[in-house]
Symmetry: C2
Subunit: 359 residues, 2 copies
């Protein structure tokens, strides 16, 4: 299966028309990859209703010829000069740009180079908005990254154990992923045992895992450009009554949130489904983050799933569902899966055992 | 040895006074690490003549308490609100900011939040300018990263050989560094054999190394926050007459450039010393990049060493010296070392054999 770049460009152009823009300058490299197929580290794309240019520097001449589809490729010596010249050829008057990824410095230089013919108009999320709904090619890639991640959890259950040092276990898991084709981790692996589990982002440390602790393991693999993201909380030795109770609440909260997923539902409603269960059990103040986020070319992308998220879920979105309870001085539990929004509801992309596993 | 944060802040404040700024907002995370000691991924620093504030989010409460020196720590929920409030308390009128690292989006929001009391003034390189001259703590750290890199080259000479796949050798070298304490590679390892050597940035590929080829190996290790950077070009099997000649020219160019290094010399003069040798040998058009760059918390930082670089070398700068010859369809040679500028000239920080090594 190949990405349908033509379709993506068509959807993007519909967005330009709706915003009454003559052209748009794309500077975010993930957005450029999404639209053009280019995977290198230096590029710009400029799109109007009738034209599409891809700009890169001489290091990427050969690579851009291989990768870029449906765009005219231009090689630049000075990026801003070539952008200005291209915009001028396109006779574009109002040009949208990505205000979250263009630095103030480059904005100022570009504004000067385009003056007085063209004006720049900032947009926070025009391409990234498109990206939140995945096409079949992306769903296949993300599913592959998720399957690799499940295999990594099977491996993690062997190396995360009493006596192991968190960071050593993390490194061993990273090696597992890299040997199986992952180009990188999606993020620094979180292995947070005992009290450290109360830190939602407890990156693996020099701490040694002890008996009787919860261990939050949150990890992701980057495979063929797409990210995966999953969390399991294990217990070392027989769980206490309180450990069982807290784990059970998070498990129930996650199930309720997954159950609530379907097209047309508010992203905030999924958050509230999880939050309601946790609040009802009396742990509301220990759940300080949102219930999930989109995953794709970026590990965090749209839609957000928080109490105030404005988005509606759509078929084809891939999101995480990851409620947690974090009790300072005691520890934490988070259970996270990736789900695809289908017309029949959530389809789970990750499948590691969700019961409390004793290591 | 500990970093002298007080000294760094003093030099920075002298810069603020010279630019007639009431305060400065630091947003580049490497610059923040340099000034405060903080190694996390979310922070701002605001400095005036009499005050110094460090801002981070609640994930880093504990870490900032441990790491940050000489700054008052504030934990924010919304960064821009806390920045605006802090600036207002400082009664600062003109505030410098880092225009290369602040996005247009954040600039616009901040401008609005500060209006009408304070005005923002863009600066491209106020802190990074300070960073080009290293203090004793940094020279020790960089030297350690360079020594680890030399050990990596000894290892590389075992795994880079005819029959090996470039990317597999690269992965094996990465593992070598990680096992010895490197937190990451300084950049994706370049292993470019045969014709691929003509690409100055030929990231290790699926190509198998053959007999009779040049192999450019350019790598770096990140150790305790500091980068190292070194290149050697090996040959697989007995070198041809042309291979010996081209290697000899690059070797001589590098020696001439290193010889020219001393405080007060123009950075461009070091470039011209190397370029002169290569041009005289008739390969001028095959040397398309600058001769070097500063190295420190960033793998590429000031000063640049190109034909038009405006900087003067100063005692304490750490730079790479890396001329090369790249002949399309044939291959390439680059030899790169890190040198410290001392009052007596260049002191080499990397020491792998510079003679043509046959693998």
């Amino acid at each position: 299966m190949k990405p349908l770049y033509g379709e993506r460009l068509k959807r993007f152009r519909a967005g330009l028309a709706a915003k009454k823009l003559d052209a748009f300058l794309v500077t975010d490299l993930k957005n450029i990859r999404y639209l053009t197929g280019f995977t290198g580290s230096s590029a710009y794309a400029i799109v109007s209703a009738g034209k599409a240019f891809f700009l890169t520097d001489p290091r990427y001449t050969a690579q851009s010829r291989e990768e870029v589809e449906g765009f005219r490729v231009r090689i630049f010596k000075k990026a801003l000069d070539t952008i200005a010249q291209t915009v001028s050829e396109m006779k574009a008057g109002v040009i949208g740009f990505e205000s979250g990824s263009l630095s103030f410095d480059n904005y100022s230089k570009l504004k000067k180079a385009l003056r007085p013919k063209a004006a720049l108009k900032p947009f926070a999320a025009l391409v990234s908005g498109l990206r939140s709904v995945k096409d079949p090619f992306e769903i296949e890639r993300i599913s592959e990254a998720a399957r690799l991640l499940d295999r990594g959890f099977t491996y993690a259950m062997k190396v995360v154990k009493p006596g192991a040092v968190e960071s050593e276990a993390a490194y061993s898991i990273e090696t597992f992923f890299r040997k199986r084709g992952a180009e990188a981790l999606a993020f620094d692996t979180i292995i947070a045992s005992g009290e450290r589990g109360a830190l939602p982002h407890g990156k693996a440390s020099e701490k040694r895992i002890k008996k009787g602790e919860f261990v939050v393991v949150d990890m992701g693999a980057l495979l063929n450009g797409y990210n995966s993201d999953e969390t399991r909380t294990f217990v070392t030795g027989r769980p206490s009554v309180k450990q069982k109770e807290v784990y059970g609440v998070v498990r129930e909260a996650q199930a309720a949130a997954i159950e609530s997923v379907r097209p047309g539902v508010k992203a905030s409603a999924v958050d509230l489904a999880a939050r309601g269960v946790i609040e009802k059990a009396g742990y509301g103040k220990y759940f300080g983050h949102g219930t999930g986020h989109g995953v794709g070319l970026d590990i965090h992308e749209g839609p957000g799933l928080g109490p105030a998220s404005p988005e509606l879920l759509e078929e084809g979105m891939v999101i995480t569902v990851e409620p947690g309870i974090y009790i300072p001085g005691w520890g934490g539990v988070r259970i996270e899966d990736m789900v695809l929004v289908t017309k029949n509801g959530a389809r789970l992309l990750t499948s590691t055992n969700r019961d409390l596993v004793i290591l």
